[in-house]
């Protein structure tokens, strides 16, 4: 009985590549084909300390492979530009600029978005274990930090999307707070 089960399992395994056309490699090449564009975003933060979720919204622009601009319009105007490793934050006439190479944890966090956007599997696997489910037109990619230091920063990242387009990112922080970023592409 067991022997037969084993056999059919082996057969199933052998047959798998023939129809499972969607895997991480496939997703990454879909993502890498996406050269950028503009999108509206709504970011919802669920924080234990607050009674209600915090909602912010605005526009973001991605230029492959390593420039990401996030322009928050509500509740307060703020702009964040990530150019290579240089993160620049402008708020209230104040501009902060920081080279992320000096902040490994922050860099790992940023790499989760950037790696996904650009389909850079190597960059993602450097810091995270990847799990993919779903199909090409509705996939869910889960990133689990390999390093404890990064896990103190973010416990789990779940990205949803269809084909080369990212639609939603959810960050689960170590303290249980959660942020959901929904992305709606603006078609030029």
């Amino acid at each position: 009985m067991i022997k037969r089960l084993m056999l059919s399992l082996c057969l199933a395994c052998a047959a798998l590549p023939a129809f499972a056309t969607f895997d991480i490699t496939q997703l990454m090449s879909d993502l890498a084909r996406h050269k950028g564009g503009k999108a509206r975003f709504v970011e919802t933060r669920y924080l234990a300390v607050l009674d209600k979720p915090l909602i912010s919204s605005g526009e973001m622009t991605y230029v492959a492979p390593d420039r990401l601009e996030k322009q928050t319009l509500k509740p307060k105007v703020e702009s964040m530009v990530l150019d290579k490793d240089q993160l620049t934050l402008a708020r209230d006439k104040q501009t902060f600029s920081i080279n992320l190479a000096s902040q490994p944890e922050a860099l790992a966090f940023v790499d989760s978005i950037r790696g996904t956007l650009s389909g850079n599997r190597a960059a993602l696997e450097k810091n995270y274990a990847l799990h993919l489910s779903g199909a090409s037109d509705k996939w869910v990619l889960t990133l689990l930090p390999r390093d404890e230091k990064i896990a103190n920063f973010v416990q789990r990242i779940v990205v949803n999307g269809n084909r080369g387009q990212m639609r939603q990112i959810e960050y689960l922080q170590a303290d249980g707070d959660r942020t959901v970023l929904s992305i709606e592409p603006i078609n030029p």
């Binding site: 300390v49 009674d51 190479a101």
Partner: protein, 779 residues
């Protein structure tokens, strides 16, 4: 006669011993004060203080190269660990994580006395509502993640308000957890020495420690491919001193040996040669004594100038020995001494002009040379003859070179071509006059180009403050100075808001005046009031009042907390920031507020007029260090021009008074003027840009060269140019050229400039003097 000689010798010996005793007590220095103004303006005073004991002058920059990033980081951590434990260093930073947490905790603990946002309005219901809303909004920002853990403790957001003021955005890059250069190929450290910038010995000790600890680490890790780069004001000072020390010794030895060789060749007598050097040694000693008595400290460069003085002072004994041989002492005194005396007087006038310089180095050179030349002449005129006794008559060489008349004739036939060439040189000088002069003080810096390049690279990598733009306020005590800094800060805040400047540093942010702390404390409500207002302010916000108990407790505690003092900051980077911007002076304190230029304007310039307008009415001083340096140099240069002209004028008047003939005066001055023209044109053609020491060199050409012209003039007057006079002039000229010319070998720009101008100038003055001596004078 014998007893007279003995008496002379004893007087001389006594004077020398007294001089030696003074020299033994003298402090020699090779620091920047050589270049710093002796009567500074208020702005220059700040410059002087910054260079002598400002915090920036105590910063050493360290770069670690070679190996890979993690190896460099390991060496960086180890080096920081070792150096930070040493009393010679106030602080050693390498950007290791954790060091900033201590600062943050300190700011958090004292936030209600530190935060500029704390005022009575902030703790009304409206003010609290606004502050709470802003803090909640901040949580939507990426930066908010940093502040989320502190929300219930600091819901008014004093910590973010304080952190914004911590020189934002200017942190160096980082690799493997420690500071790195922008390209990541170098690990960077910053060390602040306990020794002040002006304490060159202390700086040298600190540098030696850094090197030896680095070597020890390198040896223990076995990483021989890792290298250390060092720079900073202390490094430059130590290097400059070593250079000057080494060169002063080397130049003096070269010049002495060459001149001794010349004298020995001429006299062929050890005794005469030794006697010939007597006035020189006396002069050099007198020079150091005079400077020591007048200034207390003798600069190394001044002593280096001794090499030139040897060549000049030896002339007098040369004249005596060579010229008196045939005539005897009495006739020499009558015939030659007046001419020599006049020559000495012109030299004294030339050097004397420098005494009035506000550039201390120049004034010292002037006094040193003046005392030296005068002493050498006096020793030659009044002590040497007694000591040398009748021996001179038998031993003095009278073997003039027979070809000398032919040379003279040949020279004289070149008069018109020479004048034509001088005209061309003048036209050339006129054509290049705009880039004839070096425009700034760096021309005088001993730092090599390679060192400057390393310094620039390390500075850029560290984002180290070059503190070009400063606002300076003063107060009779620390409290008054901090209060003044707070007032100036308010004016500057306006400029930051307008975007005129990006920001500024202010020690009063971390160490507010007691008045400011008291005002903030008074703004804090009591527990019940705060609780009521907080509840009301939170009415429509997603934050629940019952989570804010730590907030209420912290505010109440701050109402009774003692003022923050400097001691509270001990061990943090904030202490370093405060100390480096506050300076205790004899009559109070001064506080520096370095300004950060607005980004994006390309050139990182600050509109000085806007700053001055904003500060108008206060006693705060805006200083552009670079402009001050440039202005300082311009004032030195302007002064040097005035002094040189005054010196030349004094010499002309002196000669006119003595010669009493316009024609003779013209004949004396013409060769000198031509020599100056040729030297200026020649230096420029050789690719040198002239600076103020070249100018002084030109003055010295006139002062020194007039001696030869006067001998030619005397000879012309008496209708003969005897071989003894010619020989003595030739020897004197050779020794002078050797003495000054040796300085041309120096890499110290001050000495090099004097050498390259006076060395050739002296020779030209002799040749041109011979060329324009009236025809038929030589026999």
């Amino acid at each position: 006669m014998k007893s007279k000689a003995l008496r002379s010798f004893l007087i001389w010996l006594l004077a020398m011993l007294a001089g030696a005793a003074i020299v033994a007590q003298t402090r020699f220095s090779a620091d920047m004060s050589f270049f710093l103004p002796s009567h500074p303006t208020a702005e220059q005073q700040v410059l002087v203080e910054q260079i002598k004991d400002g915090a920036v002058s105590r910063l050493l920059m360290l770069g670690i190269e070679g190996g890979n990033a993690s190896q460099r980081a390991q060496v960086s951590r180890e080096l920081r660990g070792r150096l930070a434990a040493m009393p010679e260093f106030v602080a050693v930073q390498n950007g290791e994580s954790g060091s900033l947490d201590a600062d943050r905790d300190l700011l958090l603990a004292h936030r209600y006395l530190l935060s500029p946002a704390v005022n009575p309005e902030r703790f009304t219901v409206d003010g609290l509502h606004r502050a709470f809303s802003d803090s909640i909004d901040l949580l939507t920002s990426p930066a908010g993640m940093l502040f989320k853990p502190f929300l219930t403790r600091d819901p008014t957001g004093e910590l973010p308000a304080l952190l914004v003021t911590l020189s934002g955005g200017n942190q160096p890059a980082s690799r493997s957890g420690v500071w790195a250069s922008r390209d990541g190929e170098r690990a960077m450290l910053l060390a602040q020495t306990k020794a002040q910038g002006a304490d060159t010995d202390g700086q040298e000790r600190a540098l030696t420690l850094i090197r030896s600890e680095f070597e020890a680490i390198r040896a223990s890790t076995g990483r021989s491919d890792i290298r250390l780069l060092l720079s900073g004001p202390g490094h430059f000072a130590v290097k400059a001193r070593a250079t000057i020390k080494e060169e002063v010794f080397r130049l003096t030895v070269i010049s002495s040996l060459a001149i001794i060789a010349v004298l020995f060749f001429v006299y062929r007598s050890l005794r005469l040669m030794t006697l010939g050097l007597l006035p020189v040694v006396s002069g050099m000693l007198a020079g150091v004594v005079a400077v020591s008595l007048a200034y207390g400290t003798v600069f190394g460069i001044t002593v280096g100038f001794g090499a030139a003085l040897i060549g000049e002072a030896v002339d007098y004994s040369t004249y005596y020995f060579v010229q008196s041989g045939r005539l005897g002492l009495a006739a020499w005194r009558e015939r030659f001494w007046p001419t020599i005396r006049l020559g000495v007087a012109t030299s004294v006038f030339g050097f004397g002009a420098l005494l009035f310089s506000g550039f201390p180095g120049l004034a010292q050179l002037g006094l040193y040379s003046l005392a030296g030349v005068l002493t050498a002449a006096l020793v030659t005129g009044y002590i040497l003859p007694d000591l040398a006794g009748p021996l001179v008559h038998s031993a003095a060489p009278t073997r003039p070179w027979p070809g000398i008349a032919k040379v003279l004739a040949a020279l004289q036939s070149l008069r018109w071509p020479t004048l034509g060439l001088a005209l061309l040189a003048l036209i050339y000088i006129g054509a290049v006059r705009d880039d004839l002069w070096h425009p700034n003080l760096s021309a005088l810096s001993t730092a090599s180009e390679a060192d400057s390049a390393v310094d620039g690279a390390l500075r850029a990598d560290l984002g180290a403050p070059d503190s070009r733009y400063l606002v300076v306020v003063t107060g009779t005590d620390r409290e008054a100075a901090l209060a003044a800094a707070e007032r100036a800060g308010k004016a500057l805040d306006g400029l930051v808001a307008q975007g005129v400047i990006a920001g500024y540093d202010n020690p009063a942010r971390f160490l507010p005046s007691h008045a400011a702390q008291a005002a903030r404390r008074a703004a804090l409500p009591d527990a019940d009031t705060l609780r009521t207002r907080t509840a009301e302010a939170l009415a429509d916000l997603p934050l629940n009042a019952n989570k804010l108990d730590t907030f209420i407790a912290d505010v109440v505690a701050a109402r009774d907390a003692p003022d923050i003092t400097r001691a509270d900051l001990n061990g943090s980077n904030l202490a370093l920031a405060v100390d480096s911007l506050m300076l205790q002076r004899i009559n109070g304190w001064s506080v520096l507020l370095p300004l950060h230029p607005a980004m994006g304007s390309g050139e990182l310039q600050i509109p000085a007029n806007d700053i001055r307008a904003a500060l108008a009415g206060s006693d705060a001083l805006f200083i552009d260090m670079k402009a001050e340096f440039d202005a300082l140099y311009a004032s030195y240069l302007g002064e040097a021009i005035t002094l040189s002209l005054a010196g030349v004028l004094a010499i002309v008047v002196l000669l006119a008074f003595n010669l009493r003939s316009a024609r003779r005066l013209g004949a004396v001055m013409l060769p000198l003027a031509l020599a100056v023209i040729f030297v200026v044109a020649g230096l420029h053609l050789a690719g040198q840009r002239l600076h103020l020491l070249h100018l002084i060199g030109l003055l010295l050409i006139v002062a020194v060269g007039s001696n030869y012209a006067l001998f030619f003039d005397r000879a012309a007057g008496q209708g003969e140019l005897d071989p003894e006079t010619l020989t003595s002039m030739g020897v004197a000229n050779l020794t002078t050229a050797i003495g000054f010319g040796t300085l041309a070998l120096s890499s110290v720009p001050v000495l090099n400039a004097i050498g390259t101008s006076v060395g050739p100038g002296a020779i030209l003055a002799l040749l041109l003097g011979a060329m324009f001596v009236p025809r038929g004078t030589a026999k």
